[in-house]
Amino acid sequence: MTGVVIVFLYLIAVSAAGMGVALIVFRGAGRVAAEVWLPVSFALGLGLQAMVLLSAMVAFGAGPVWLAGVAGLVALGAGIALQIKGDPARRVDLGGFQMFANPPADGNQRALHFAAFALIAFFVVVVYLNALSYPFTSYDGRAIWSYKAKVMLHEQSILGEAFTDPYRIHYHRDYPVLVPIAMYAIYDLTGGVNERLVRMLFSTFFLMQVLFLYGMLRRIGTGGALAMVGALFYCATPFRDDWSERDGGALNSGAVDIPLSFFAMVSVLGFLLFWRERQRWQYLLGGVFGGLALMTKSEGVVIVAVALAGNMAVALFGRGGAIKRDVALAIGGVLLSFAVALPWQIAKSGIPNFYDEDYGAQFRPDILLGAWQRLGVILYTIGKEIVFIEKWNWYWVALIAMVPAAIPAWLGRREFFLDSLLLAWLSIYLFVYMVSPLNLVFHLNTSTSRLASHLLPLVLVRLILFWAARNPFDTPARLAVLRGGAAPC
């Protein structure tokens, strides 16, 4: 029980440190709901921790956990100082939980809102219980992520022989380490490797993702109980059990796709809001969280690439006016992501890659010409995955059903950013399979679930937006705004 308390205290401390950074990021945003600032603070705290410890490992050869604590205190101090001494007009107003402060006024909507909340609370408790009940024993969980954390616990570095000696048995030694660094901190604070307690980290990612999804659905204009119901849809997706409970599951990736999915969601929704409202903090969220995705998994590159694709689509074809400025903003967002991930890029340069996942080398004419032969198998496997109702509920099927109605909206530049981005994202994943240097059947069987999980929150956002514009329970005035597509995205 002491361990549980220590982990919760650690997670609170990380969020407090991240809040210091969040106070800088949100500067000028006015009032920010707790459903937004809390998840963002949590993620920024973990990102700060990873950046500081990686920098220390590169510069001094060791990154002790206490150093991250000091950096967190400094960040919190800087954030508070800026709040007190800075321009009062740009001060951040940290609001409470809107789900309690501003529930729907209508009686039926209110009942639905709180019923959905009760179910979400139930499922979140289940996720935490799963974490405490079942150790982190999935293959990738141990071989890739926990091994790195274990090495850091003993050596306080990723530049030792365990990472750099080609003969040492170390699976995917050059995979990003934001999550292993958080695991390392938990192992350090709880007195050793604990495969049970460490899973609370992933449960917290899940909680934060649900909170942020709710906060964003409220913000992008889904009134009444719809935001809470949307969050419930994500929360009750059966795939949740694949990573939160089952031994062979964890989306075959040691649960690290959940942090990645969270960072990707915040990055994309940050940019989506930016193209609608043009506020600085939204742009920063888009760029910074892309960087956190880069520091979490290799697929982070795809997320940054699709964010760039979506941004460029809006900048070039979104009828926004100043094309040059918007293109510069689109490229700047990607550069910001790479700047955030710079400590990892530097540290990684000392680690050899001994695994044939070199997708860059696949861009050869002979391979590209032969890749079309794979299309049938790929589409069949992906199709089989997404119609698996007992895993993904109806969400993917609903997305496909929505396509005929979404095409006119896309051509009319409504939800242009999100639709372009989802299209780019699916195309890239399809292309990755077409040129994959791995055995295709093996690659498909072990990765389609996790790729689907990356996209799922945004698929839900798209479905909710689609429904919101046709919601028979909403007011005519709001529906007119939602249907009008006033903003180019």
Binding site: M1, F122, F123, V126, L129, N130, L132, S133, Y134, P135, T137, Y139, R142, A143, I144, S146, Y147, K150, V151, H154, E161, A162, D165, P166, Y167, R168, I169, H170, Y171, N194, E195, R196, A236, P238, D241, E245, D247, G248, N353, F354, Y355, D356, D366, I367, G370, A371, Q373, R374, V377, I389, E390, N393, W394, S436, P437, L438, N439, L440, V441, F442
Partner: protein, 259 residues
């Protein structure tokens, strides 16, 4: 007794059965552990019963009498809605709530005194994907933490490497061909032995990289240099299919390097 009254009584019976099954689920969650060995089947029966009882109970609220006067399009819509509802209920009951109860039971087991080590053994002893924990514990007891171990064996060396850390575990292929492929070619031995990776891509065989063709003399020199540099004094042989053949032994680095 009218048909409606009989139906009403039947539905009350179904309500009582739902309550009984629900209480039984809770009672099992409170008293059975470890669920992943003895309780799974029992729980599965409970949840299946709950699912069908809820289906019957839901069916009782459908206004069946109005169906004949509905236009076909509405009947089709109701049928589709019914199928969606059944699948949703199935997902909700058999996945979400099943998971919830299992989580409660597992957590309870953990807090009742089952240590992580016991549960880890329990999981790994029953899972062919992992090395047997009892064997790993023997190795952990025998080999000092600062020692270097050469791993020779079949699948899953990465888990062995993780479990034995801080002992340094190295991939030491015992055959020339294996060594050929494991060095400088981005392949560890596990990949060669893993049945997944053994398969050629039927659609495009060019996907497999070709191993470099190293001369035998160079291979032996490479191996000797590696053993000497890393002071490897232990060899671990692990066979997941015939675990009784697995062993750990202390060796002289000079003999280890001999062809």
């Amino acid at each position: 007794m009218s048909a409606e009254r009989a139906l009403g009584i039947a539905m009350r019976v179904v309500d009582v059965l739902i309550a009984v099954v629900f209480v039984s689920v809770v009672a099992n969650a409170a008293n059975t552990w470890p669920v992943y060995i003895v309780g799974d089947k029992l729980l599965a029966y409970h949840f299946k019963a709950l699912f069908w009882l809820l289906v019957v109970r839901s069916a009782s609220v459908v206004p069946w009498r109005r169906f004949p006067v509905l236009p076909p399009i509405r009947i089709a819509a109701v049928v589709v809605a019914g199928i969606v509802y059944l699948l949703f209920l199935h997902t909700l009951i058999l996945t979400n709530f099943y998971s919830a109860v299992v989580a409660v039971m597992h957590t309870r087991a953990a807090f009742k005194g089952a240590t992580d080590a016991e549960i880890a053994i329990d999981i790994t002893e029953h899972n062919k994907w992992y090395p047997r924990m009892s064997f790993v514990i023997k190795v952990q007891e025998l080999v000092p933490e600062d020692a270097a171990i050469a791993y020779i064996g079949d699948q899953r060396p990465h888990i062995m490497s993780y479990l034995l850390y801080p002992r340094r575990v190295y991939a030491l292929p015992e055959m020339q061909t294996t060594l050929n492929q494991s060095i400088q070619d981005n392949w560890t031995w596990s990949h060669l032995e893993d049945p997944f990776h053994k398969q050629e891509d039927p659609q495009n065989p060019r996907r497999r990289p070709t191993p470099p063709d190293l001369a035998p003399g160079r291979i032996q020199a490479e191996m000797r240099r590696m053993i000497a540099e890393r002071k490897i004094e232990w060899v671990l042989y692990y066979d997941s299919l015939y675990t009784d053949k697995s062993f750990i032994e202390r060796v002289d680095p000079a003999t280890l390097a001999t062809p």
